[in-house]
Amino acid sequence: MDNKARVILRCENLEKSFGATRAIDGCSLEVQEATITSIIGPNGSGKTTLFNLISGFTSPDSGKIYYKDRDITELCKKSKSYTLAELGIAQSFQLARGFGEMTILESLMVAPSLASDNSLTSVFKLLLPGTKEVSRWEREKKAKEMLQELGLEKKSAEKLQDQDVGTQKLVELGQIFLLGPSIFLLDEPLAGVSRDKVPLLLNYIKGLRERGKTIVMIEHKMEPVLNISDIIYVLVNGKILVRGSPKEIREDQRVKEAYLGVSGVRTE
């Protein structure tokens, strides 16, 4: 653990209840830049809720979230989730979300969408005959480069919804990368992915770290998590049980007990 690395994301004493249920009961965590931090825990421990708090899908009852030392707790409210993306926090979804009707190539052209693409003046410019969209070639080029990076050039004209989950998730990562965020929040990136595609995804995620990106992910499959993470947080009943390196976690008795007394690590 490199103590000099900057803390890019910090949560202090997050709390969230749904009615009578305390989903998150005072969680604090720190994420360092250019690391892979994983949050694991048994079912019902509150991983998804914690994730939703960080990604802005739900707002905490109390506690604070800091991004690059800036208090973003207020911004983490449902309707403003697009501003988080603008700040540099992007997320992927457990059930691969995407623009299924589009071809893979085109789905990689959606982001980033600058304010200028969105504006009414750009619309009126289209009225002038002969104006080609200046940025279209740039955008298409970047998308094609991403396709190559992902190894999907042959499938560029295929629809996203016709792909297997692994490919869809790979494309999702590519989409997010083109957005240019600093933090990637990944919600069970390996869920539903076939065995042969898992290494592809893991390699890509590791590659992101090499490029200075920060990854925070929740995942169920223990072995991959232990293999690629720098820091692991174990969440049980809404509280952080322990934080440590994969080696420390692997040997921690409390973690083993938390997973219902299964001896050894559950591989999947």
Partner: protein, 308 residues
């Protein structure tokens, strides 16, 4: 082939072209962006009546108090801008959901209809507004119709060109993305509410333009020209021809008008005029149901972007 017959054919084509502009606007809102707009006829009426009020010389009509006597081009621009502003206000509801917008747009059209029928001082009430135009004064029957068919053809081609270009641009791509998965679009930094509002406004302004041209052509604004049935007729044409496909939309409109004409000619049972009118709507309703269930993409299917 008498002159009157040719003039009649041309006026039919002119009407068709106006409907084409409307269906293209609806395709932008629904086919591309997935926004339900049931207030179509309201925006058309808004464009038409604003144009009429702007062009009217109030001294020529006793029952209307307001008029500005402006030339058509100025009235046209004012009508589009006014409609844009009102569409902006109506579309703000989209923040709360698409179903809500659908209902509010329907309510808006109904409310507008009531207002138009009642506020005689402004809109001439049920009698309406009659305006005069230079073209009408200078040209004979045939010339008039030819002029308008040309004007409307140019307008329709412009709208076709514009909406296609819009659909294929990044602006259209964003709209398409929002339609498919709003949450995902937000996670990629897109302000989905604002974008949807913009599309709604642009579409409504095109509808107002059609209304404006229509009234310049017909020179008469009466509430009964803008019934709720018009909204649903355009919807059916769009669904029939291909949601999300401009060419399909035009095709659908053509087929719809053909069916309408056939119904008028052949569904007449002597002595019972209401059966023809009623049957027409029954068939429209059945078509809508069958299409939604069996082939919601319409005859041509969607073509929302250059990439397929």
């Amino acid at each position: 082939m008498t002159v009157a017959f040719i003039a009649f054919c041309l006026s039919f084509i002119s009407l068709f072209l106006i409907y084409v502009i409307l269906v293209l606007a609806l395709n932008l809102q629904w086919g591309q962006a997935g926004i339900l707009n049931f207030g179509l006829v309201g925006f058309v009426a808004l464009g038409a009546y604003t144009t009429a009020i702007c062009m009217l010389d109030p001294s020529t009509l006793a029952h209307v108090d307001v008029g500005f006597g402006l030339p058509f081009p100025v009235a046209f621009v004012i009508a589009i801008i006014v409609t844009g502003i009102i569409a902006w206000l109506v579309s703000a509801i989209v923040r709360l959901g698409l179903e809500e917008l659908a209902i509010i747009s329907l309510a808006f059209a109904e409310f507008l209809h009531v207002t138009i029928s009642n506020e005689e001082w402004l809109t001439g009430g049920t009698v309406g507004i009659y305006i005069s135009s230079l073209l009408d004064e200078k040209l004979d029957l045939l010339g008039y119709n030819v002029a308008f068919t040309v004007i409307l053809l140019v307008a329709a081609l412009l709208v076709y060109y514009f909406t296609t270009k819009l659909n294929f641009s990044q602006f259209g791509r964003i709209a398409n993305a929002i339609r498919q998965d709003e949450i995902k679009a937000k996670s990629l930094g897109i302000d989905t509410v604002s974008h949807r509002m913009k599309i709604f406004v642009i579409g409504s302004m095109i509808m107002a333009a059609a209304g404006s041209l229509y009234i310049y052509f017909g020179l008469r604004a009466v509430p009964e020209l803008y019934p709720v049935g018009l909204t649903f007729a355009i919807w059916i044409a769009l669904i029939l021809g291909g949601t999300g496909n401009n060419l399909g939309a035009v095709l659908g409109m053509g087929i719809y008008m053909l069916l309408d004409m056939l119904a008028r000619l052949y569904l007449n049972i002597p002595g019972h005029p209401e059966i023809a009118a009623g049957l027409k709507f029954v068939i429209i309703g059945l078509l809508l149901v069958i299409l939604i269930i069996r082939r919601p993409e319409g005859i041509l299917g969607p073509k929302r972007s250059r990439y397929g």
